[in-house]
């Protein structure tokens, strides 16, 4: 006898697949919607749908191991007197202390510093551990303003005004009670143990005209030293990027719908926002039309996993990328060694997304002291630095093959698309044709 029902000729529904059936059953049993971490799990057009055209007869490649291919990037030199100078365009995205353990935050700081790049605070303020171990730290300015204070603002290397995240554009944050320990509660001025809802709108400005004044206020407070980023979840990206640039941002971060989150409604993660691939060319076009492409730097995030994704982002016109989920995986998230423990939680290695729950066996998305102690920040930092180095070297490999002496010299002309959808979104031709859907070409 076969265990596989399909082998018996039984047929699963494509519309009501197993995950959908389980979700309906869950809703019926509990009466509450599902909240989880990670990002969108459905398949959407992505960087895998693009390929590079290596050099051959009509283009000249660079020698793989000898000829230089630089990777450095300057972020925020439009108005700030102290822009960030990074050795690689791979940065660590904002993830809050609270969502992540203090050890995980420290490890991210160590990893970023070792690799010569920046890391970012999150919706819970700046911890001394994080500041201490991060050579270059971007301080998020979020609607909740948890822990926001002028001393940390002055201690930061850059300030990121967060309007939204790709996982939940238009939504505020959540941190469930089991993660609101006394320390997290005190940093956020909240009663311990409550299910925290953080605001989705900034409390003291609305719209681009106000944002311009707000950005000036932050500059005035910090004496115009620090680059000011604006982060948006990918939706109406063309307009959002234009408005953010006009409001005076030095750097714009665009986070696509695949972007990770610590805790969001499943329906929000899977159904709101547009793919990173669709957003990036819109952002570049918006900046080009304003004459600000490369003057205002563009950081892209949401499903960036490896050096190929990095190279594709650079080729489409990004100045840098930010990684969240990939950095957590580097720290040990979803590692097979935790499989038995994931299964006790009703999950499995490779599937775990219950960051909201605080019982992370890998000790990353938790505030439980015993679990958090499983993560060694020094070893974690080394692993994160390794990932960043590998991503950078992979991107260099591609850039050299395309004849580029700097990652930023990669261009859309180096790319083709595998599908009609990705060709239309990325505005590069379908492979083997000169057809870019939607451009009349």
């Amino acid at each position: 006898m076969h265990d596989d029902p399909a082998a018996l000729g039984l047929r699963e529904s494509a519309t009501f697949d197993r995950a959908t059936i389980a979700a309906i059953q869950r809703a019926a049993e509990t009466g509450v919607y599902d909240i989880r971490g990670w990002g969108a799990k459905r398949r959407v057009p992505h960087f895998d749908d693009l390929l590079f055209l290596g050099a051959s007869m009509s283009r000249y490649p660079l020698e793989g191991y000898r000829e230089r291919c630089d990777t450095d990037v300057v972020l925020g030199d439009r108005h700030a007197t102290r822009p960030l100078r990074l050795a690689t365009p791979v940065t660590i995205a904002g993830m809050s202390f609270g969502a992540l353990s203090a050890q995980a935050k420290e490890a991210l700081g160590r990893g970023a510093s070792e690799a010569g790049t920046s890391t970012t605070t999150g919706d819970g303020g700046m911890t001394p551990e994080e500041r201490g171990h991060s050579k270059t730290l971007v301080y998020q300015y979020l609607p909740s303003r948890y822990g926001m204070n002028p001393d940390d603002l002055r201690r930061a290397d850059a300030i990121e005004v967060v309007l939204g995240q790709g996982a939940k554009p238009g939504g505020g944050g959540m941190l469930l009670g089991q993660k609101i320990t006394d320390r997290v509660a005190a940093m956020r001025t909240l009663p311990p143990g409550i299910d925290q809802r953080s605001a989705c709108r900034h409390p003291d400005w609305t719209g681009p005209d106000d944002l311009e004044i707000k950005i000036r206020e932050l500059r005035e407070i910090t004496d115009w030293e620090k680059p000011i980023y604006v982060k948006v979840g990918a939706t109406r990206t063309y307009y959002d990027v234009k408005l953010a640039a006009k409001a005076g941002a030095d750097v714009i971060v665009v986070d696509g719908m695949q972007g990770g989150t610590a805790a969001t409604q499943e329906v929000f993660i899977e159904h709101v926002g547009i793919p990173t691939l669709a957003a990036l060319p819109q952002a570049v076009r918006a900046l080009q039309e304003e004459g600000l492409h490369r003057r205002v730097q563009l950081v892209v995030s949401g499903g960036v996993r490896n050096g190929a994704d990095l190279a594709k982002c650079m080729a489409l016109g990004a100045d840098a990328v930010a990684i969240g989920t990939a950095a957590l995986i580097a720290l040990g998230d979803n590692h097979p060694k935790w499989d038995a423990e994931y299964r006790k939680l009703g999950s499995a290695a490779g599937y775990f997304d219950d960051y909201q729950d605080g019982r992370d066996p890998a000790g990353i998305s938790t505030q439980d002291e015993e679990l958090a102690a499983r993560l060694d920040p020094v070893e974690g930092g080394r692993r994160v630095a390794n990932l960043i180095r590998v991503m950078t070297m992979e991107a260099q490999t591609i850039a050299r093959a395309c004849g580029k002496a700097h990652l930023r010299n990669l261009e859309p002309e180096d790319l083709v698309a595998l599908t009609v959808e990705s060709a239309a979104m990325a505005r590069v031709p379908l492979a083997g044709t000169d057809w870019i859907p939607g451009t009349g070409r």
Binding site: I35, M148, P150, T189, R197, D204, D210, R216
Partner: protein, 225 residues
């Protein structure tokens, strides 16, 4: 008395003003002439200086204040004393929206009215408003005290955490999870202290107290918000 340094915004820029105030020695006194409603005046101060603004100010006046005393002889725009940490900000006229937004400490006194969202997401500041406040005031207020000597608009204290609200006049409506609470002796004493600090002589006995019912603190099936 130390001499007062005057900065006239007809000739000096906002950058020059803030730069000078950031370098100012504690105990010094400053007077800002012809502010003309400019934004971001006296923001990010970090010393016990005394600043008087002679006229109207725009957005974020005295934003993120620490230690300083800032007095505005006029009206202020959006977000006066936003995210203040300590010190005192006093507005002789009225304030636009989001006065004292997210402020963690210090005292904000508005002699006139405050518009919508006064004390939004307040995190420990004390705010005393001589006149009325607009709708959604103390929205998501986490800590600190909001005293309204006049009336309050709709949805007062919506989604409130642990901030306390005292209102002397009429409350148009309470927001989600905000309820009236009994006025105990400690509340009367606290209110008397706040009124005194603001230089007012209203009778604490004429106020009502509002706070969180704490029914939204946990996500449950019954929670439809």
């Amino acid at each position: 008395m130390a001499p007062v340094t005057e900065i006239d915004l007809r000739s000096a820029s906002v950058r020059e003003l803030n730069g000078a105030l950031h370098r100012a020695e504690p105990g010094t006194s400053w007077r800002v002439l012809h502010p003309g409603g400019a934004h971001n005046l006296a923001v990010g101060l970090d010393a016990a200086v005394d600043v008087v603004i002679d006229g109207h100010a725009g957005y974020y006046c005295a934003g993120m204040n620490q230690h300083a005393t800032v007095t505005v002889h006029g009206n202020v725009g959006v977000g006066v004393a936003e995210n203040m940490m300590s010190g005192t900000v006093r507005v002789r006229g009225s304030a636009s929206q989001s006065a004292g937004a997210t402020a963690h400490g210090g005292l904000l006194v508005i002699d006139g009215d405050a518009s919508a969202r006064c004390g939004i997401s307040m995190k420990g500041v004390d705010i005393v408003v001589g006149g009325d406040v607009g709708h959604m005031s103390a929205f998501m207020g986490q800590a600190g005290r909001l005293v309204v000597c006049g009336d309050a608009g709709d949805a007062l204290g919506d989604s409130l955490y642990e901030a306390r609200i005292y209102v002397q006049g009429r409350v148009r409506s309470l927001g989600a999870d905000c309820v009236e609470k009994e006025m105990g002796p400690e509340h009367l004493a606290e209110l008397a202290m706040l009124l005194k600090a603001a230089g007012r002589d209203d009778d604490p006995a004429g106020f009502r107290r509002y706070g969180s019912a704490r029914r939204l603190y946990h996500f449950t099936t019954g929670n439809s918000y």
